[in-house]
Structures are given as C-alpha cells and as structure tokens.
Symmetry: C2
Subunit: 564 residues, 2 copies
C-alpha cells in the first residue's frame, strides 16, 4: 500500500523546483498551453516564427470584410456562435493614418504584411479571427500614448495584444481594429533583492521573467502552461490565475503597481513599488482583469516570493468526491505553509489521458479509482517537507480519505504526475470535438455540475471534470467524436444557469473576452454591470479599447442606456 511505496522509494534522487517546473514545459500540456519560446527575450520576429510553428506553417487567408458581419469560427470550443455587427461609429483606416503611425513608430514597426497580419488576427485555437489591416509595435509608453491619442481622436478602434494566448477571443480583433502588440516593450526595469520587487515592461514574456528571477533566487507568483509565449502585461490585464494561486494568491494581491495608457493617450503612473499604500482609491485594480478595455498596461511592478529549495509531488486516489474535499481541508491544515498545489481529476479524465497521450502510464495500477488528486508542496527544507507530507499521507490513508497513492521520488516521477494533470486538455483535443468551460464554484458543490451534466447527456458524450480544487476552479469539458449543435444546446445555457444558481463564476480564470461578454449577467448583478459600463464610458468615452469584449457591446455603444 501507500506507505510501502513511499518507503521503498525514499532513497531515490531529490530534485529542485527549477528542474521540476522546467519539466512542466511540455507543448500543449496545460489549460492554456501553446508552443513555447526558446529562452532569451522576445521580439516580434521570434513571436512571428512562433506563430508560424504553432500553425504548422499554414497561413490563414484574411476572411473578414470590413463593415460586414463576422461569423465567429467554432472549432473545438463549445459556445453558441453569435453574429455581431461592426460598430459604425468607428472610423475606417486610411492612408493618412498609416503615414501618421509610421511617423511615430518608424516604418518597420507599422506592419501591413498579410502573412504577419494573418497571425496577429487569429487566436491560438483558431476559433476567433479578425480582419485587421494594421499591426503596430510600439517600443515605449510614449509611443503607446501617441498612438492611442491619435486613434481616440480619429475614432479608430484598437485591440491590445500580448502573447495572444487567451481562450476567449479577447486578444484578437473582431473586425478591423488596429492591433497594438506589446512585444517590443520587453525590458526589465529594476529588481530589488531586499523586497523582491520586480518592475518591467508589459511585453516581457512570463518565462523570461521566471528565468531572470531564478538567477536572483526568486520566483514569479504566477505560473501558467502558456508561460513561453504569454506576456506579463497580458497576464495582468486578464488577471491570469494558474498553478500557484492556491499558494501565492491572485495578481490583485501580488501586483504592486501599474503604468497604463488611457484611451485618450493620458499616461496613468501608478507604478508604485510599495507593499502598502493607502492614498486614495487603488485604481490599478481596475486594470487587473479588465482585458485591455480600460487602458493598455505598459509597465508592471510585482512582488516576487523567494525561491524555495524543496518541492514534493504526490499522486493520490480517492474513492469519492467528498473524500477529495476532506483531503483538501486536511492538506490545508497539516501541510499549511508548504502546500503549493492541490489539483484534481476524475477517472474519465485519467482514462482519456491514458488512451490518447503517448508514454503516459497510470501511476496507481491496476484498478481505476473514481478521483485522483495531485498535491505539491514547496518549502525550504527537503527532509522536513518530505516527512511532513508523508505523515499527512499516512494520516489521510488511515482516515480513509486516500484509497491509494504514490510520492514522486525524482524529477521524472514528479513530471509524469504533472503530465497527467496538464495533459487532460491535449487528450481532449485528440479525442474529438470538445466543449470547454471554466467555472468557479463552491468546492462542496463543484462536482455536482459534472454529475448532472452526465445525467443530462447520457451516452451521447463524455463529461470530464478536473481542475484546481484548491481554488474551487472546475474545468468542465464535454467530449464528443464530432461537433454537434444539439449537444451544445443541451449544455448551454444549462451550465451557465447552474453556475449562476450556485453563485459561481462563469469564468474563473479565462476572462470574458468576446466569447462570454454577453453572458456576464450569469455571474454579476445587473447593477454591478451597469456600474462597470459607466466606468468604461467614463474612461473610454469613444469605446475604442477592445470593443465587443468583456461587457455587452449594447451597454457601451448606446450612451443613453447607461445610468449611474
């Protein structure tokens, strides 16, 4: 049984968090996985090459025609296809505009090349595709400011773009919006080893920041599957969650300051490097998670925790969902300060991974269990952490919370456990069509949704539940051999209504983007959304920043409908 496994393998190699995290960097291995960059700082050329590899060399022909309705493409991800109209209040680009931008940014940072535009117009899932004719690459806050000031005066709509790794169509144009890509603003400005405070430009790729901090003995407080491409400005603008949230909390707690450019070009300097600052309203939080619709984040100040030397990973089986919950409670209490991840998947998820991913083996053969939990600890003392984890596992086994389990003894075992958890999205993609959802729910009710969905769909589809149990974040996925509108109609709006009824969130970490802008009322009260719309109109009266996203466009474009 478990303790035999634990003890039999205790003499094996130890590993460092660095190598462990590096081992997670498998392409398409996570919820937000995409092709990864080589090391070194990003520039546009490399970004472009990325995208090319990402799409296997296929270049998409521009689809959209300006002024015409754009049909949102649906491939893997389930969402009712919607038809929206281009807002006629926005101007269309002309040659004077191009000349003006070239004057500000220089010829080579004003991109009209069709191939490069095709990449920037398309999200990584190929689900959303715009028809922008212009991609701008500003190199400084001043350039962003001048570009936005001009666009605002001309009523040219814009879409801010970072690594373009989002899952809800937030970072690509819907129609002909000018794309402002932040890749060229990729400098680290300062790092203070006493406080652990990093200040950098928005275009820094997360993985490069991770490497930089690693050399300083620190880590980033967030870790995502997409870290090889996503940018810190995009992370902040979308309030990215990821794998370390259970330990280090959200970006609202870790981001200390922001510099942002408003729609009219005004620069808001809130780039504080202080842990405490109670001087007026803390407006930086408006920009964290507003998906570029209130301003473009140009610089970020972030608190980075010290790197700790000991990481342990256990893969456990539970007989039912209530045991998973109890295990979480015990883990919080007994592992306390060293708990760094608490992920779960159901047996359908494991089955899918075992069937569709090469080289993945069941760590707990021969039988299949109902639920699996991956627990990671991170601390400063290897032997103590391991003893603590083992004592916790023994206690949990004796208490009947765990049916079986194994503790990784080296980096290969640890990464093989992570590969199972992070491989679920990839396995789903390989299994056929998939309808993907990302909900926050009270932990005790979370899995009921999966079970109800199974009853509703019967044999017509597989329903998969996995996610960040420690954060109450369920990734619900419905897998079918082929895409079918009838299946979708059984899922939506049922899942949104169910989530709303249980006071959950219809987007735990992915944001609303274009996909769920009109679904915001499932999670937020009408009065709250009204206030959001009022703030949007206050800060971006012409509505040029990332239009059609986050909030229902009807609330933004019709001035008379917004009351406070």
């Amino acid at each position: 049984m478990i303790m035999e496994r634990l003890r039999a393998t205790r003499r094996l190699l130890n590993y460092t968090p660095k190598s462990l995290f590096a081992s997670r960097s498998h392409p398409n291995s996570s919820e937000q996985s995409i092709c990864r960059s080589a090391s070194g700082f990003a520039h546009w050329g490399r970004y472009y090459e990325h995208q090319k590899r990402r799409f296997g060399g296929t270049v998409w022909a521009p689809l959209g025609v300006l002024g015409k309705a754009s049909r949102i493409q649906c491939r893997y991800f389930g969402s009712v296809a919607e038809t929206i109209q281009r807002d006629p209040s926005f101007s269309k680009l002309n040659s004077d505009d191009i000349s003006y931008f070239k004057g500000i940014l220089g010829e080579k940072n004003v991109i009209q090349d069709e191939d490069r535009l095709a990449f920037a117009n398309t999200d990584w899932m190929r689900k959303y595709k715009g028809s922008s004719k212009l991609l701008l690459l500003p190199r400084s806050t001043e350039e962003v400011s001048r570009v936005l000031k001009y666009c605002n005066s001309r009523r040219l709509a814009v879409v801010p773009q970072g690594g373009n790794t989002g899952l809800v169509g937030g970072s690509v144009p819907v129609f002909d919006e000018v794309i402002i890509n932040m890749s060229s603003m990729n400098n680290i400005i300062s790092f203070d080893k006493v406080s652990g405070i990093l200040v950098c430009e928005a275009g820094c790729i997360l993985e490069n920041l991770v490497s930089f901090l690693d050399n300083q003995g620190f880590i980033m407080p967030l870790d995502l599957g997409a870290k090889g491409s996503c940018q810190i400005g995009g992370n902040v603008s979308t309030n990215a969650g990821g794998l370390r949230l259970v330990r280090y909390g959200s970006l609202h707690g870790n981001v200390l300051g922001i510099e942002a450019v408003l729609a009219n070009g005004d620069v808001l300097d809130m780039l504080g490097t202080l842990r405490k600052d109670n001087t007026g309203y803390d407006l930086k939080h408006l920009f964290i998670g507003s998906e570029g619709s209130l301003g473009i984040v140009t610089k970020v100040s972030i608190l980075s925790p010290p790197k700790l030397s000991s990481v342990n990973v256990a893969f456990l089986a539970c007989k039912d969902y209530i045991s998973c919950q109890k295990l979480l409670l015990e883990a919080k209490r007994r592992l306390g300060e060293i708990l760094s991840a608490f992920e779960f998947l159901d047996n359908e998820s494991l089955d899918l991974v075992l069937n569709h991913l090469e080289g993945v083996r069941n760590p707990l053969p021969p039988s299949m269990h109902n639920f699996y939990v991956l627990i990671e600890t991170t601390g400063s003392n290897e032997s103590y952490d391991k003893e603590t984890l083992e004592a916790f596992l023994l206690h949990s086994m004796e208490g009947g919370l765990i049916s079986d389990g194994v503790l990784a003894q080296d980096i290969n075992q640890a990464s093989s456990f992570w590969r199972i958890r992070e491989g679920v999205p990839e396995a789903l993609m390989k299994a056929g069509a998939v309808y993907k959802y990302d909900f926050s729910l009270p932990v005790e009710k979370m899995y009921n949704l999966v079970e109800e969905m199974r009853i509703k769909l019967g044999n017509s589809a597989k329903v998969i539940g996995y996610g960040h149990l420690g954060d109450g974040n369920l990734h619900l996925n419905v897998s079918t051999p082929q895409y079918d509108d009838m299946i979708l109609a059984q899922i939506e709006p049922f899942v949104y209504e169910w989530t709303s009824k249980h006071r959950g969130s219809i987007s735990a970490e992915h944001g609303l983007g274009l996909m769920k802008a009109n679904k915001i009322f499932y999670s937020k009260s009408h009065r709250t959304v009204q206030l959001m719309a009022s703030i949007k109109k206050l800060m971006d009266p012409n509505g040029i920043l990332n239009p059609y996203k986050v909030l229902p466009h009807s609330m933004i474009c019709d001035g008379s409908s917004v009351q406070t």
Copy 2:
C-alpha cells in the same frame, strides 16, 4: 552569546498562537490601540460604554455650530491645522428628516441624545470633532439603502462609521454630517470549513471574528492593535494593514466579496465567495481603502487561513540599518514559508519604552544597540519551526548580521517582546507631544528619513523610527515635551516632500481621511487623482458620502474642475 541563550532555555514551556495573540491584547499597546471590548458580540450599548471608558467618563460638549468654519483640534498628532468650510450645497437636517428616519429604523435607532452624539462625533485621539445632530443605527442592508436613498435625494451629507478607531479623522463628521454607525449589523452569515471562507456583516468587531474562527481552527488574515473595537467593514473600507500583512498580504488579496450600498441607495451585490472570478471589472477593490467615500460596505466575504499550531518569537539586536535589511533578506529566504512578522525599532524607541512603560525590561542588557528586530514565525510543527529559526539565527550571527539576541521560550517572554514593539506609541504619548507619520518607503532608503530628520531638528526633539520593516512601513515619530508650531514647520512639508521624492507613500496603512486629503498629490500623480475624482463624481454625484475626506474637496464639489 545568543546560542547559549537559545540552548539554555530550550526546555521551557511551549505556547500556542492563541495564547500568544491573546497576550498582545494590552490596552493602548499598538499603533492603532484603543480600549478593548469584552468578548461577545457588539451592540450599540456596549460600544457606547466603551467610548465612555475610553474617555474616562468625560463627555465632550458639542463644539461645532452648523454652517460655521470648523477648526480641527490638534492634540498629540502633528499636522498643520487647517480651516475648511462647510459645503453649502448640503442640506441641513430638519424635523421631517428625523421623522422619516424613525419610520425606517424605529425610534431607538435614531439617536439624538447629546452624550451619545458627543462620543460618535469625536475620534479616539480627540483630535477630530464634528457636530452632527444625528446618529443612525441601521440593522440591515435594506435599511442602509433606504437611509442613503433618502439622504441623497435630500442632499444630506453622511459619514459612515465603524469602530471609530482611525488615526486620520476619517470616521467622524467634519460638520453636521449624519452619522451612520454600522454596529448593529454584526451577524456572521456563513463559514465554510473546506474553503475557509467567512461571510459576515460589516459591523462585526474584528476580535469577535477572530474568536469565532479560532473555534473553527482558522484565523483572520489581518490582526490589529485595535481589534477589540474596530469593525470588519471599517477594516475593509480603510484597507487596514497591521501585523500579519507580511505573511498573508493585503485585504485586496484576502477579501473575496463585498456588498455595498451606493450613495443613491442602490445595493451592489458583489458578495462572491470564490477565490477566482474573472467576469468583468473587479469593482470590490474600489471599496477597499476608499474610506466610505464611494459607498457603505454592508457585508464582507473573506478568506481565512487555517490556524497553525506553532509560534516562535525572537528579539534581536543589529549594529546598523544595513544589517537589518540583510537580516530581512535572509529571513525571507531561510524562514520562507513560516515567517509571519518582521518588525524593527531603533534604540531611541527602545529607550523611550524602557523609560515610560512600567514593567518593561531590556531583553538584551547591559548594552544598548543601534537597532532591534522582532521576528515571529508561525508554522505547523513546533520542533521543526524552532530548529529552523535557531539555525537561521546561528547563521545570521556567524555572518555578523545579529549582534545579540534572545528567543522566547514561553508566552510571557514572547508577549514581553511584543510589548516592547507595540508599546512604542503608548510610550510616545506619555513622553509629551508627538508628531506622528506613517510612510511606505523602499526598505533600503527607509531609515535615511529618520536620520535626515534628526539632523534637521538637532537637539530640539527626539526622532523615533520603528515599524513593519517586512512591509517597508516606517512609523516616524517626533517627540517633544510640548507641542510647538515651529517644530511642525520643520517637519512638514519636508517629510512629505522627502517621501514623494523617493516614490514612497505618505500613508502606508492609516489612509488619508481628513488629515491628508489635500496631501494626496505627494503620493499620486495629478492624472491619477483626477480619475479618482471622476469616479467619485460618477458614483456619488451629490458628494454626500464622507465629504471633505480622501480627496481634495475642491475637486469634488466643483463639477467643472473634473475632466476625464
């Protein structure tokens, strides 16, 4: 030397965090200390009795005359006395108003009694005193909503009030504002032991929440000297910092949801109980730290960490400030996940405590050192934590960062160390007049301000520096036998200018309130403050919520001056 002390006393009693924290509850023992409640939930009668004890039975005669300029009282705390005018756009209370409020709240919750009004009009330092004629005690969100809707339609200004423990005059009227005290909304609504999420009404006293959670095996993520009186709604509205911030972060990270009533009576239900929710702008952050000027917080949802069983406290001496900084860096790295407090005081502070507080002894006799550091660890394993702390202390001593030190062996020793750190404000009060400041500064520059102030003031005053080093939060205090405007003129605006020059904050944790509303530009850019004012005007067009506070009143009352 240190390790001898450590080893000589290792066999002594251990203590629990509960008893340790309880031991801190000495009246007037902290930066925000006030008289403490007995256990049990607060209601107005008890609150009133509190205040009576607080002021030693003395009842203040109402001073202010409606419509006349109000001279701010100055006793202990240094700030240039300012004269401001009542905003004539606010209506004056009439008998119809009183009848209307009685109809909503019932006779006994509409207070016109002079004694009770005198208490509610005065802050605990007796520095600020308003002349309100009406105190309202709503018992539900619905009542708060109806009261505000009426006040807004009548243009009656209001001041939201919690435990009234603030240090910047934010929670008392300036003139005749109607006081809305939240003490009667003191119910715990729910607690989820799996997620650790507590939902409660705004009027819950912090200490009562601490007791409630203690029984459940959890703690509040914030701890303040004022916990016996302060209310969670006030804590959230002022973004209270305190002693656990270095470990658990700010309320922006820990508060999961808020219910707030806007100036026009609309209720914003954002009372989520989810760790992750990316559906639109996260507006709750606008209410965290806006000091009741954007709405009245009526309910709060907060993430509480599990209670850990082991607490250790060390009191250390450092020869210079650079050693304190290096020690902080080492503590973060070597104590990592168990570090829960890193406080510092200079020798002037210790000297003051030793001279003015009874029963306090120097833990490191016979010599005086230049700096003292209090380190606390909180973890789940008594013996491991102690070993880790001892190893860290040994390492730091060998590296020359610590000159001397002692590790508490029981609750009495631990509380005697905390008594020194928390006793500084009380000692300052006893020593004479004191000019108090609360700055956030980059840690490496923090103490330079104390030294420059000393050079500037020479022998005319004692300059004391202490605070939360782990958070970069300096409490700078200037002590003189008597209050002297000449001294004040040497301190201000120098300290604000110095802080501004080093990109610090002129209020780390106390807020702006009335005291520093006009000083906001020292910490925030003009454009940022403009946007704050625009948001204030959007959410409270008549400016009835806590007027004259937080932002310069001229930016609020004159509509034409605010542009976005």
